[in-house]
C-alpha cells in the first residue's frame, strides 16, 4: 500500500471527525469528533515519517498524543463545569454569544 492510501484514510477520518463536530448535539460527542480529527493528523504524520524514513514525525506524533490526552481531560472538565452551571450539555442551548 502506498502513501496515498494512508493519506486517504487520514482524510476520511478527518472528514468524519469534522462532520461529528459540526452536527452532533451532545458536547461530549463533539469532543470525540475533535479526537478523531487529531488522530487523522497523527496518521498523516506517521505515514509521512514511515515513507520518508525520517523519525521526527514519529516523535512528533508521541507529543501529539500526549497533548490529546491533556486536551481530552481539559475538555471533559469544561463539560462537567458547564453541566454544573447550565444543567445541560446540549450544544444548541449554549448560545450566549448570539448576536
Amino acid at each position: 500500500m502506498g502513501l496515498q492510501a494512508y493519506l486517504t484514510l487520514a482524510a476520511v477520518v478527518f472528514g468524519i471527525g469534522l462532520f461529528g463536530v459540526v452536527t452532533r448535539r451532545n458536547t461530549i460527542s463533539i469532543l470525540l469528533g475533535i479526537e478523531l480529527m487529531l488522530n487523522s493528523v497523527n496518521i498523516n504524520l506517521v505515514a509521512f515519517s514511515r515513507f520518508s524514513g525520517d523519525v521526527t514525525g514519529m516523535i512528533f506524533t508521541v507529543f501529539t498524543i500526549c497533548i490529546t490526552v491533556v486536551e481530552a481531560a481539559l475538555g471533559l472538565s469544561i463539560v462537567i463545569l458547564l453541566f454544573r452551571v447550565r444543567r445541560t450539555v446540549t450544544a444548541d442551548h449554549l448560545d450566549l454569544l448570539k448576536g
Binding site: 459540526v22 450544544a91 450566549l96 448576536g99
Partner: protein, 627 residues
C-alpha cells in the same frame, strides 16, 4: 488741555458713554427713574458744552485726529479707533449734542406718566444712542463708523419699540431694524470692497490716496453704490423709506431726536464723509440725485393725505432727506450738509411741538385738533416758526439752506430733479400749512372731541388743552430761537458757496413756497376752495397716496411670493431630498444590520462549520484559480 487736540470732542463722546454705562450697570439707579434721568441729562449738558467748545476750535478749518491701535495684524495695525474732529464733524457733533440734550430735558415731562423703571430704561437707551451717534460722527475710519452705525440702528430699534407691549410698536421696531439692515449689508460689502481696493479703512489716508490718484477707479462704482445702499437704508430713500413713517410708533421725543434730526441724517453724513470717492463715480451720483428727487416728491405727496400729525412730519422728513441727497447727487455735498444742520434744528422743533400738541390733546389725529392757537399760544408760535423754516421763508431757518440745495442742483445741471424739487417745495409749504391751519386754527374740535373723550372713556382726564410745562417749553423755545437766529443770520450774510446760483432762483423758491401757503390758507382756513373738491380733483393720486402707493404691499408681496416661495422650495428639498437620502441610507443600514445579526447564532458549531466551508472554498479556489 485747551489746545485743538480733539480732547474736547473726545470728552463730549465719552460723557454719553459714562451716562450709558452708569445707568446700564447700576441697575438700582436705573429703576429709580428720575434720579437716573438726571445723571443722563447732566452728562448730556456736559457733552453739549464740550461739543460747542470743540466746534469753536475747529470751525476755522483746524483738524484734530487722534487714533489708537486696535486690531493688530501681521505686525501692522488693521484697524484703529479714535476721533476725527474737523469743521464738518464738530458742527454735526454740536447738533447731535444739542438735540440729544434738549430731547432728554423734554422727555422728563413728556414721559412723566411712565413707571420709574421704564423711565430709567428710556434714558439708558437715550444715552446709548447719543454715544453711538457721536461715535459715528467722529469716526476716523469706516470700520468704526460701521460699528457705530449698527449701534444707532440698535438704539433706534430699542426706542421705537419702547412701548413694546403695544403690538404695532413692536412690529414697527422690527420693520425699521430689518429694512435698515438690508441697507447695512450693502454698506458692509462696500466697506470691505473699498478696503481691498485701498488697503485701509482710514478716511484721511483714503483721501490722500484719492488726491494722489493712487486709488484705482475701476470698480469704484460698485463700491460707492454699496455705500449708497447703506445710506439709503438709514436715510429712508425710496424704496427703503417705508420704515420711517412706522417708526413714529415710538415716543415723540424719540422721533424728534432719531427719526428727524440725527440718525436718519447719518446716511447724508456718510455720503458727505466719502464725498471724494463719490466724486470719482458720476454715474452713481446721478442715481443718488434722481432717487433723492423721486423720494422727495413721493414723500411730499404722501404727506398731503396723512391725518396723523406725526406721520405728516415723518413723510416731510423723508422728503427733506431726498432734498439733501439730491444736492449731494448734484456734486455739492456741502449744500446737502448745510440743509441737514438747519433741518435738524427745525424738524426737531416741529416734532417736539407736535409732541406738545399730542400731550395736550391725547390724540395724533388732525381732526381731533383745531383751534388750538388760542389754548396753546406758545406751542402755536414755535410750531409756526418751525413750519415757516421748513417752507423756506426768508428770516427762518430753512430759507437759505433750501435755496442752496436748489441752486446746487441747478448748478449741477440736473434740470429734471430741479423741477421736481421746485414742485416739492410747493407741496412742502402746502402740507405743512395744512397741518397748521387744521390743528391750530379753524373750528375747535372741542364739541366732537368731547364726545370722543367719552368714547375713549379710559382717559377720563380730558382737561382743556394748555401749553406744556417748563421742561417741555424750554427746549421748544431754544430750538425756535436757534432756528430764527440761523435764519436771520444767513438771510443777511450769504456764505460763500462753491457754485453761483442764478439770480431768479431765490424769488422763484420763495414764491413757490408762498403759493403753497396761500393754497393751504385758501383751502383749510378760508374754505374758498372746498377741501373735498380739491381732494376729488386729484382723485386717483389721492387714492394711491392713501394706500402709500402700494409700496408696503409690494414689499409684502415680494416677501409672500418670492421669499416664502423660495423658502418653501428649499424646505421641500431639505425635507424630501437631503433628509430623504439620509433616512433611506440609515434605514438600509438598520435592516441590513438586523438581517446580518442572524448570522451570529452564538453556537460554536456554526462557526466551525463556517471555518470549514471557508477553508474548503479557499482550497478549491487555490486549486482551480491559481494553479
Amino acid at each position: 488741555m485747551m489746545t485743538g487736540d480733539g480732547s474736547l470732542a473726545l470728552i463730549a463722546l465719552l460723557l454719553h458713554a459714562l451716562g450709558f454705562l452708569t445707568l446700564a450697570i447700576v441697575a438700582p439707579l436705573r429703576r429709580l427713574g428720575r434720579p437716573g434721568a438726571f445723571v443722563s441729562i447732566a452728562c448730556a449738558i456736559g457733552s453739549l458744552a464740550a461739543a460747542v467748545l470743540s466746534w469753536q476750535q475747529h470751525m476755522g478749518g483746524a483738524v484734530s485726529r487722534r487714533v489708537w491701535e486696535w486690531l493688530p495684524s501681521q505686525g501692522q495695525t488693521l484697524m484703529t479707533v479714535g476721533i476725527l474732529a474737523d469743521a464738518d464733524s464738530s458742527v454735526m457733533l454740536c447738533l447731535v449734542a444739542l438735540v440729544a440734550c434738549l430731547v432728554q430735558v423734554y422727555s422728563l415731562s413728556y414721559l412723566s406718566d411712565e413707571p420709574a423703571p421704564s423711565f430709567g430704561r428710556y434714558y439708558t437707551y437715550q444715552s446709548l444712542f447719543a454715544f453711538s451717534m457721536m461715535g459715528l460722527v467722529l469716526a476716523p475710519n469706516l470700520a468704526q463708523l460701521f460699528i457705530c452705525w449698527e449701534l444707532v440702528g440698535l438704539s433706534s430699534y430699542l426706542l421705537i419699540g419702547f412701548w413694546y407691549r403695544k403690538p404695532s410698536a413692536a412690529r414697527a421696531a422690527v420693520k425699521a431694524f430689518w429694512i435698515t439692515k438690508a441697507g447695512d449689508v450693502g454698506l458692509l460689502i462696500g466697506i470691505v470692497l473699498l478696503w481691498r481696493q485701498a488697503g485701509t479703512f482710514d478716511l484721511t489716508e483714503m483721501r490722500v490716496l484719492v488726491e494722489s490718484g493712487a486709488l484705482p477707479v475701476a470698480g469704484l462704482s460698485i463700491i460707492t453704490f454699496c455705500l449708497y445702499m447703506g445710506a439709503a437704508g438709514k436715510s429712508a430713500q425710496f424704496p427703503m423709506h417705508i420704515w420711517l413713517p412706522d417708526a413714529m410708533e415710538g415716543p415723540t421725543p424719540v422721533s424728534a431726536l432719531i427719526h428727524a434730526a440725527t440718525m436718519v441724517t447719518a446716511g447724508v453724513y456718510l455720503l458727505l464723509r466719502t464725498e471724494f470717492l463719490f466724486a470719482l463715480t458720476p454715474d452713481v451720483l446721478l442715481i443718488v440725485a434722481w432717487v433723492g428727487a423721486f423720494t422727495a416728491l413721493l414723500a411730499a405727496v404722501l404727506a398731503c393725505v396723512q391725518d396723523d400729525i406725526k406721520r405728516v412730519l415723518a413723510y416731510s422728513t423723508v422728503s427733506q432727506l431726498g432734498y439733501m441727497m439730491t444736492a449731494i447727487g448734484a456734486g455739492f455735498a456741502s449744500a446737502g450738509f448745510f440743509h441737514l444742520l438747519t433741518h435738524g434744528l427745525f424738524k426737531a422743533l416741529l416734532f417736539l411741538g407736535a409732541g406738545a400738541v399730542i400731550h395736550a390733546v391725547h390724540s395724533n389725529d388732525l381732526p381731533d385738533m383745531g383751534g388750538l392757537a388760542r389754548k396753546m399760544p406758545q406751542t402755536a408760535i414755535v410750531f409756526l416758526i418751525g413750519t415757516l423754516s421748513l417752507a423756506g421763508i426768508p428770516l427762518f431757518g430753512g430759507f437759505l439752506s433750501k435755496e442752496e440745495i436748489l441752486g446746487a442742483v441747478w448748478a449741477g445741471g440736473l434740470v429734471g430733479p430741479f423741477a421736481v424739487l421746485m414742485l416739492v417745495a410747493f407741496l412742502t409749504a402746502f402740507y405743512m400749512f395744512r397741518v397748521v391751519f387744521l390743528a391750530f386754527y379753524g373750528v375747535p374740535a372741542a364739541a366732537h372731541a368731547h364726545a370722543h373723550g367719552h368714547a375713549h372713556g379710559g382717559h377720563g382726564h380730558h382737561a382743556e388743552p394748555h401749553d406744556p410745562p417748563a421742561a417741555m417749553a424750554l427746549p421748544l423755545w431754544i430750538l425756535a430761537l436757534l432756528s430764527m437766529a440761523v435764519g436771520v443770520y444767513f438771510t443777511f450774510t450769504h456764505p460763500e458757496t462753491e457754485f453761483t446760483a442764478p439770480g431768479w432762483l431765490m424769488p422763484a423758491a420763495v414764491g413757490t413756497a408762498v403759493a403753497g401757503i396761500l393754497l393751504a390758507w385758501a383751502t383749510y382756513q378760508r374754505q374758498i376752495i372746498n377741501p373735498v373738491s380739491l381732494a376729488s380733483a386729484f382723485g386717483p393720486i389721492r387714492y394711491a397716496a392713501i394706500n402709500k402707493f402700494w409700496i408696503d404691499n409690494i414689499f409684502e408681496g415680494i416677501y409672500n411670493v418670492v421669499l416664502l416661495g423660495f423658502s418653501k422650495i428649499l424646505g421641500w428639498i431639505d425635507r424630501y431630498i437631503v433628509d430623504g437620502v439620509l433616512n433611506v441610507v440609515s434605514a438600509w443600514t438598520l435592516t441590513s444590520g438586523d438581517d446580518l445579526r442572524t448570522l451570529q447564532t452564538g453556537r460554536a458549531q456554526d462557526y466551525v462549520y463556517g471555518v470549514a466551508v471557508g477553508l474548503l472554498i479557499l482550497l478549491l479556489w487555490a486549486r482551480w484559480a491559481l494553479a
